[in-house]
């Protein structure tokens, strides 16, 4: 088990390095002086030359490459051109906000997806099953920015029951603990729903298939044969085993959630990494764009690593074969 974790750790570290390398080359492939993107246009050429020499930017490409990787790994992403503050401090503000949104969406889509999948599997080929199959396809095909706008139109503008933007109301800092919490939850509902619902549709399809596979296994027949009530067979024996692959699916859905956050944050004025990126692109703020790119990839790779380890811990078959192979 430890060996497995160690191997996956090394693999993930290599992936992070490759992501950094690709970003570096993207930067140098783009037309124009790549390092000019790291300086404010108003600075005089002499000063730029001085800074370049101090930072080692006049050194050969290969040396720059290693310096660049070194500084990214240490978390030094340079200075934002638009805000003139270290990129790191911008990220420190944005990352928790994106995580809050993404984790809420993740929870939502697991709960909705797993519940729908179970009911579909239990009532296979029923009206509900057919309906949810078609509904999943529709939801999967709807552009999230459009769904977001429609929900704002309905719930915020027409009905006025939910806020349409920002993480909390103006002046919410003065609210007491519970009221502040409720206010934030109300602001979280729409964006988390929009972000999570598309992945929920695919989890539901996956869960349905996984449940149906498990229900064909011998131990389910055994459980039925020994006279357990159908509900117990379903929830205790089948669900537990069918849910294991979901761990992997959660890992795989991370890039979709983080990518989707770009659009959702923009619509709902959510001050996270997605909005930071889009605004940075408008402002040609390259250090921010590249840093966010790296951080997001890092999150996805770590998420997949955790999902793989979780899967190995949950599924007894994996550890058994590993141990068997070791002997």
């Amino acid at each position: 088990m430890l060996r497995f974790i160690a191997i996956r750790l090394v693999q993930s570290a290599v992936l992070v390095l490759i992501v950094l390398t690709i970003t570096f080359f993207l930067l140098h492939l783009a037309p124009g002086d790549p390092m000019a993107r790291y300086f404010h246009p108003d600075i005089s050429p002499e000063t730029v030359q001085m800074i370049k020499e101090r930072l080692g930017l006049d050194k050969p490409l290969i040396e720059q490459y290693f310096r660049w990787i070194g500084s990214f790994i240490r978390g030094d992403f340079g200075v934002s051109l638009a805000y003139n503050v270290p990129v790191r401090s911008l990220l420190a503000d944005a990352i928790p906000n994106t995580l809050r949104l993404t984790i809420a969406a993740l929870l939502l889509h697991i709960v909705i997806g797993v519940a729908l999948g179970i009911v579909s599997a239990a009532r296979r080929y029923s009206f509900f099953d057919r309906f949810s199959t078609v509904a999943a396809l529709f939801i999967y095909s709807i552009p999230s920015f459009w769904l977001g706008l429609m929900l704002i139109l309905l719930f915020s503008l027409k009905l006025g029951v939910l806020p349409s933007s920002h993480m909390q109301s103006i002046g919410a800092e003065q609210l007491s603990g519970i009221a502040l919490f409720a206010d934030r939850i109300r602001h979280l509902v729409l964006p988390a729903f929009v972000l999570g619902i598309a992945s929920a549709a695919s989890i539901a399809r996956y869960m349905r298939g996984s449940m149906l596979d498990v229900l064909r296994e011998d131990y389910i027949r055994t459980a039925r044969a020994k006279g357990l009530p159908e509900g117990a067979v379903f929830l205790k024996h089948a669900l537990k085993n069918a849910a294991i692959p979901i761990v992997t699916i959660i890992g795989l859905s991370l890039p979709f959630l983080l990518g989707g956050a770009v659009v959702v944050e923009k619509i709902f004025s959510w001050p996270g990494m997605g909005r930071l990126t889009v605004d940075a692109i408008y402002a040609r703020d390259y250090p921010v764009v590249l840093a966010v790119n790296f951080v997001v990839a890092f999150m996805v790779i770590s998420g997949n690593l955790l999902a793989d380890i979780g899967y190995a811990l949950l599924d007894p078959r994996i550890t058994l074969t590993r141990r068997g192979a070791g002997r």
């Binding site: 290599v14 992936l15 490759i18 992501v19 690709i22 970003t23 993207l26 930067l27 492939l29 783009a30 037309p31 396809l137 529709f138 999967y140 095909s141 709807i142 552009p143 999230s144 920015f145 459009w146 769904l147 706008l149 429609m150 704002i152 139109l153 503008l157 027409k158 890039p255 979709f256 983080l258 990518g259 989707g260 770009v262 659009v263 923009k266 990126t277 889009v278 940075a280 692109i281 408008y282 040609r284 390259y286 764009v289 590249l290 966010v292 790119n293 997001v296 990839a297 996805v300 790779i301 997949n304």
Partner: protein
Amino acid sequence: MRGIGQNGESKGRGLWSAGWARFRDNRLAMTGAVIVLLLYFVAILAPILTPYDPIEHGDIPRMRYMQPNPQHLFGTDKFGRDVFTRVLYGSRISLTISFLAVLISVVFGSVVGAVAGYSGGFIDAVIMRIVDALMAIPRLFLLLTCVALFSGSIWLIVVLLGVTGWMATARLVRGQILSLRGQDFVRAAEALGAGRKRIVLKHLIPNTLTVIVVAATLRIGGIILAEAALSFLGLGVPPPTPSWGQMVFEGREALLGAWWVSTFPGIIIAVTVIGYNLLGDGLRDAFDPRQYV
């Protein structure tokens, strides 16, 4: 899933006609095919189907934000332009961009996947790690980074959509090639002295073609959504060229007063993506039943 059971019944007919028969029997797949065909007709016939111009401003004080009515089925936008007309012309942009981008990503992905799968060893390992790394960056972030670095024309958007989407195809084709590589007909070709290039191009890629076509069809929906998202963020097709994503974005400023400006283009995007997804699922079921087992 259903394709396998019907194999027996279609004995004696060719692979393609049997597949076509399975496809015709699948009501959802046919719906998808009809939607997609209809969209191409609409794109080609747009000037005949509508009397209005998609770009020229109407008489703004009189024509802006008109409700949907018999003359303007989807209403008008803030410049007094007919939304229906813009949706029709927008289909040209979405269909062209998605088709070209998928072509780029599928051709590139297939070649890379085939090379990786056939070479094996070190080359395979290096290529697949690069694929893994690129796939770790969420599509939209990768796209945005490229857009920021290489900002430019609509063709650049096509190329970027293509080159940021080839990784999944490469993985798929590599898997197929690996399973084909050990088979007798490839060994025979090798024994006859065929070169690596010939084996990949003449023997391996043609045999993975069905899988590639199905994957490409299923990917078009995703590309349309990506292009729409990019245009919605103001980083895709530049105005005034009508693109669906950008139309949804423009309707945003008058959402409450003129809901139709955003609503209709969004519905059309969803219908288009559903059409391609149904078509792709149908093709997969009909021509490639293995995928389902």
